[in-house]
């Protein structure tokens, strides 16, 4: 229920921001009578209607709560922190993607993730991350897919 409330507020905020941004689009009345704002305005209104429908669904659910509906407990936070960590680590990987190059950046990225999610199997993880990087790099270079070389000479 709390999640739905967040979605409801979020949807209304997005619709408001979108409609505001739509109003800021400059209009040149040449050739196109409808202009670039009309369709987005309909979408903004559509999103507000969808929020209204969600509100109606929430009221209906409040009257007839789903039996056995799971509540989000504090134990879920640990998993969210892990995912947050993966997101930050992925952001760092993307930052290093061009600087270090595909092979080096990806090998480090993969090894760290495997070390966390496939614990204790150091040799397998190291082999999997290095072999994957080298083989995929060779394959994509052969397919003319451009991947950054970075610090490596090849």
């Amino acid at each position: 229920m709390m999640t739905d409330r967040v979605i409801l507020v979020g949807t209304i905020v997005v619709a408001g921001v979108y409609l505001f941004a739509t109003a800021q689009i400059p209009v040149l009345e040449i050739g196109d009578p409808l202009g670039p704002k009309a369709f987005p305005r309909l979408l903004g209104l559509g999103l507000l209607i969808a929020a209204g429908l969600l509100f109606a669904e929430m009221r209906k659910d409040r009257r007839a709560p789903v039996p056995g509906a799971a509540r989000v407990g504090s134990h879920d936070w640990r998993h969210l922190w892990v995912i947050a960590g993966v997101i930050v680590w992925t952001g760092a990987y993307y930052a290093a993607f061009e600087r270090l190059g595909y092979v080096v950046a990806t090998a480090i990225y993969l090894f760290a993730l495997m070390a966390w999610f496939n614990r204790g199997r150091w040799v397998t993880n190291a082999l999997a991350s290095v072999l994957f990087c080298l083989l995929s790099y060779a394959m994509f270079v052969k397919l003319d897919v451009n991947l950054p070389k970075g610090i490596l000479p090849f």
Partner: protein, 503 residues
């Protein structure tokens, strides 16, 4: 007669060694993607698009279509052996397939899945061959208003069937349309919602969105499962990989019925393979002389749904090829691939590029034969994929996603946009918001706005044009029904149950 010539020429195209090779690569990768939980056909096709840039479009599309229908074959293996659908549409196969596997009949379940998929998949392609031309001829009468109404119907149908909450599916659909408006407006040349970021001037690439929403989001969800210690037990495949005579006799009718259900559901927008499989399962249970066996290892519960989710793929190709309108997430990605090659699917494609259309359709006959061979004698090879630890597989999917996104334009900013979509997709899953409607509207959004504006220009600003022909009136009425019914039907049911209780 002319159509027959085109169909035969299509075989000449699809039987060229290069196209046979790409059909094989497509169905092989499709089976792998189907077997692996964590990556589905949408992400699989999207990730391969950059790799196929240098290829001849016919070969590339043959390969991507192969991935699409190949995943349905692979998905059943995972459903039967680890009780987790490798691909969403195999969800019903998991119920009885896993029970059969627990009773030592995994070989029979896998064999009937493969044979049923082959029969229904081929029946579906026959349906596609038969219905494509009449529908394409009808679509030639469509103007911008009819096209807008058709796309509107596709989106409302996907929203209404898109999950537990129609309102959330509608939010997902409209958010997708909003994202599609980002970039330079093609008619006025005005930048919209770009926030001064140059990378957004061309709009948000759908490949980036699909990779984020499907692949990256799925990896995050699986990583959460690993952290929670959720694991599945793999049942070892032993014994003969074939079914008994009795099992075959019990399966024939469900396969044929499932094939018809799947094809019809596939043609309709919104429903998709999962609903086709559910309908087939419910129908078989109702028709069965042993309904009590369902859920405990009834082979009909494997044969029917597997047939349905395979012929659904051929059915879904009908509106995609003839109207240019996808009915779900994976076909939306295929449409995106067509557009990236500068090919607009639709009625004119049948006139202008019959070699491509019929080469693609005919390759599906060949692909289904290849899939039958791959999924029977070589099934042991694919089963081994299930033993790859998820802790290794998920990071690899993240790296493949990075390659897929970066290879598009060589722009690292797009990697971050993909990550944002991944976070959004992960949060959507947690909040029970379906992502397929967003992908569909993201792909259709640009064309839909253009049709809307063209229609309004033709009518001089009179919205009456959207109800100005029998076709558009029907489509608008169907759209209104699909929006209203999910809200009204539960109330009607509650009211009927209430009045029955008081009686």
């Amino acid at each position: 007669m002319e159509t027959l010539t085109h169909i035969l020429n299509g075989f000449a195209v699809s039987l060229q060694p290069i196209n046979l090779w790409y059909t094989f690569i497509g169905v092989f990768l499709g089976t792998i993607i189907g077997v692996l939980p964590g990556i589905g056909p949408s992400a699989g096709i999207a990730l391969l698009i950059p790799v196929t840039y240098g290829m001849n479009p016919t070969s590339a599309l043959i390969m991507m279509a192969g991935i699409y229908y190949g995943t349905k074959y692979g998905g059943s293996t995972t459903a039967i052996l680890i009780n987790t659908p490798g691909e969403a549409a195999s969800v019903m196969t998991a119920i009885d397939g896993y029970q059969m596997a627990k009773k030592g009949r995994a070989g029979a379940a896998l064999a009937i899945s493969a044979v049923g998929s082959f029969i229904a998949g081929t029946l579906g392609v026959v349906g596609l061959t038969v219905f494509a031309v009449p529908l394409a001829s009808m679509a030639l009468k469509f103007g911008p208003a009819e096209y807008f109404a058709l796309m509107f119907f596709a989106l409302t149908a996907v929203s209404s069937l898109g999950g537990k909450s129609p309102a959330k599916a509608m939010i997902s659909t409209i958010l997708g349309l909003m994202i599609a408006t980002i970039g330079i407006d093609l008619q006025s040349g005005q930048p919209r919602y770009t926030m001064g970021i140059p990378e957004l001037q061309d709009g948000v690439g759908f490949v980036i969105a699909v990779v984020g929403l499907f692949a990256i989001a799925e990896v995050f969800s699986t990583m959460e499962d690993i952290t929670k210690g959720v694991r599945s037990e793999i049942i070892r495949l032993k014994g003969r990989l074939w079914f008994t005579r009795d099992e075959w006799e019990r399966s024939v009718a469900p396969i044929l019925r499932g094939g018809v259900i799947g094809f019809v559901i596939g043609v309709l927008p919104g429903a998709g393979g999962t609903i086709a499989a559910i309908l087939s399962y419910v129908w078989e249970k109702r028709l069965s002389r042993h309904p009590e066996e369902f859920g405990k290892g009834a082979i009909e519960g494997v044969a029917g749904p597997e047939a349905a989710n395979n012929s659904d793929t051929a059915g879904a190709m009908v509106p995609l090829l003839t109207l240019g309108i996808p009915g779900g997430g994976a076909t939306a990605v295929l449409l995106g691939a067509f557009i990236m090659y500068g090919i607009q699917p639709g009625p004119l494609l049948f006139q202008n590029r019959p070699d491509l259309v019929w080469g693609l359709v005919d390759s599906m006959y060949i692909g289904n034969i290849m899939l039958l061979i791959l999924n029977l004698p070589l099934i042991g090879l694919f089963v081994r994929l299930l033993y790859i630890p998820r802790g290794i597989l998920m990071p690899l999917i993240m790296a493949i996603s990075a390659i897929g996104v970066y290879a598009l334009n060589g722009n690292p900013v797009e990697l971050y946009i993909g990550l944002l979509f991944g976070i959004a997709g992960y949060l959507f899953r947690k909040a029970d918001i379906p992502v397929a409607p967003m992908v569909l509207s993201l792909v259709l959004g640009g064309t839909m706005e253009q049709s809307f504006r063209q229609a309004m220009t033709i009518s001089g600003g009179n919205p009456g044009i959207f109800v100005g022909s029998a076709i558009s009136v029907t489509l608008v009425a169907l759209s209104a029904l699909s929006v209203v019914l999910p809200f009204i039907l539960p109330r009607l049911k509650a009211w009927r149950d209430g009045s029955r209780d008081t009686a």
